[in-house]
């Protein structure tokens, strides 16, 4: 009722939509959430969501005025806190009849929250790769090697992000550095199966979320978005493979 300016509501909905896509929600979830928010704002929404941009038409239920807007989605960066909080607050918006201001404030709060400190991410992701080395049958020396190699790879990603590299080039360099560090272990025969450390040190780069979301989109009949995500994931895997191939050519390894 208290929606002074429909233009503001439209911008807000578009921002929420882009935020969710960028944080790694699948397409169905984005559509559902947007419909809930639109309901709360007494609007009817119809959206065409692609990987890079969103086209949305909103109809004011009272006056039947329509608004159509297009926006670009910024670079993808998985952030489940944002997905979770926006989903939860979309339900609250319906249940408690939130107005524009309340939704706007909540979204601002969600957007400005910091993620975990970088040092923590560094430690846990490296530990995850050490875990992978264990799963593929490496011993504890291989796990240490995978841990160190992943540290190198993650720092490379951070550096590449700082200089705004193309994501595929970034992945290529990260895979190259990580596998080069693990490759030293192969040369000096560190541990029982040093080639396992070489193989698992790059697994943190595997675009698992993109691949899972792609099949999720297929199941929900968002075939086009699913294809885009799949090709995206495939190109990432290709860059990782190229990074490892470069290491193997440079260090003259032929173990895999």
């Amino acid at each position: 009722m208290k929606n002074p300016n429909i233009k503001l509501s439209v911008d807000l909905l578009l921002e929420i939509c882009a935020l969710m896509m960028q944080s790694g929600a699948n397409t169905k979830r984005v559509v559902d959430t947007i419909n809930r928010f639109a309901d709360a704002l007494h609007l009817e929404s119809h959206a065409l969501i692609s990987h890079k941009s969103i086209i949305m038409t909103l109809i004011d239920k009272k006056t039947q005025n329509t608004y159509t807007v297009v926006t670009q989605i910024p670079a993808y960066h998985a952030n489940f806190w944002i997905v979770s909080e926006i989903s939860v607050s979309s339900w609250k918006a319906i249940d408690r009849n939130w107005h524009y201001d309340e939704i706007k404030n909540r979204i601002e709060q969600i957007k400005n929250r910091k993620s975990y400190p970088f040092i923590l991410i560094l430690f846990f992701v490296s530990l995850a790769d050490a875990g992978f080395a264990n799963l593929f049958g490496g011993d504890y020396k291989n796990m240490i090697m995978a841990f160190v190699a992943t540290l190198g790879g993650l720092l490379t990603v951070k550096l590449a992000n700082f200089y705004h590299f193309n994501p595929y080039i970034r992945t290529y360099f990260a895979a190259f550095i990580a596998s080069a560090i693990a490759g030293i272990g192969v040369i000096y025969h560190f541990g029982l199966h040093p080639e396992i450390a070489l193989a698992t040190a790059v697994l943190f780069l595997i675009p698992g979320l993109a691949l899972v979301n792609s099949f999720n989109d297929f199941l929900n009949n968002h075939i086009l978005n699913g294809m885009v995500r799949f090709v995206n994931g495939f190109l990432m895997v290709l860059s990782i493979g190229l990074g490892i191939i470069s290491t193997m050519l440079l260090l003259n390894l032929n173990t895999l």
């Binding site: 806190w81 997905v83 264990n134 899972v212 895999l256």
Partner: protein
């Protein structure tokens, strides 16, 4: 016999750690951190138990992610968070990254290294078996994890914060 079960437990523990690591990378809410570890641990337990009993890796992965999908529902009710927030990090350790890049390495060998016909036929086998393995495991994961929600339908899941 005991050694086998210790190995399974150790592997399951490390899949829990891997799930947790990816959860931190994806910036999951603090409250679901234990949940993610437990789910990753259970998935690892089921997967390696099945593999031990001569299941194919696709079937093992399917059962493990089905379990994650089922157990997620009561968890989602208790922590009031959407299911994806902890089900996706828990299944990430099962993503066939290893197969995916073995496919790429096979392509490399096919193009750059082996030029003898019979070797190239072997390489083709290698590329196709690993490539299809990747796709089928991915499919098993997604179907397994979303099947409980799809089967229960809208009425049962309406109370969940989707």
């Amino acid at each position: 016999m005991d050694i086998i079960y210790t190995t399974i437990l150790e592997n399951a523990f490390w899949s829990g750690v891997a799930a947790l690591g990816f959860g931190i990378l994806f910036n999951i809410p603090k409250r679901v951190i234990p949940t993610v570890f437990i789910l990753g641990f259970m998935a690892g337990l089921i997967k390696f138990y099945c593999l031990q009993n001569h299941c194919s890796i696709v079937t093992a992965t399917f059962f493990a992610s089905l379990l994650v999908g089922i157990v997620s529902i009561p968890f989602a009710k208790s922590v009031r968070k959407p299911i994806v927030v902890f089900s996706i990090p828990a299944i990430i350790p099962m993503i066939p990254g290893y197969f995916a890049y073995k496919t790429i390495l096979g392509i490399r060998n096919f193009t750059f290294i082996n030029t003898i016909d019979t070797d190239q036929q072997n390489m083709l086998n290698h590329i196709f078996s690993n490539g299809f393995m990747t796709i089928f495991i991915l499919f098993a994961i997604t179907v397994g994890v979303s099947a409980p929600m799809l089967l229960l339908g809208r009425d049962m899941t309406k109370k969940l914060p989707d």
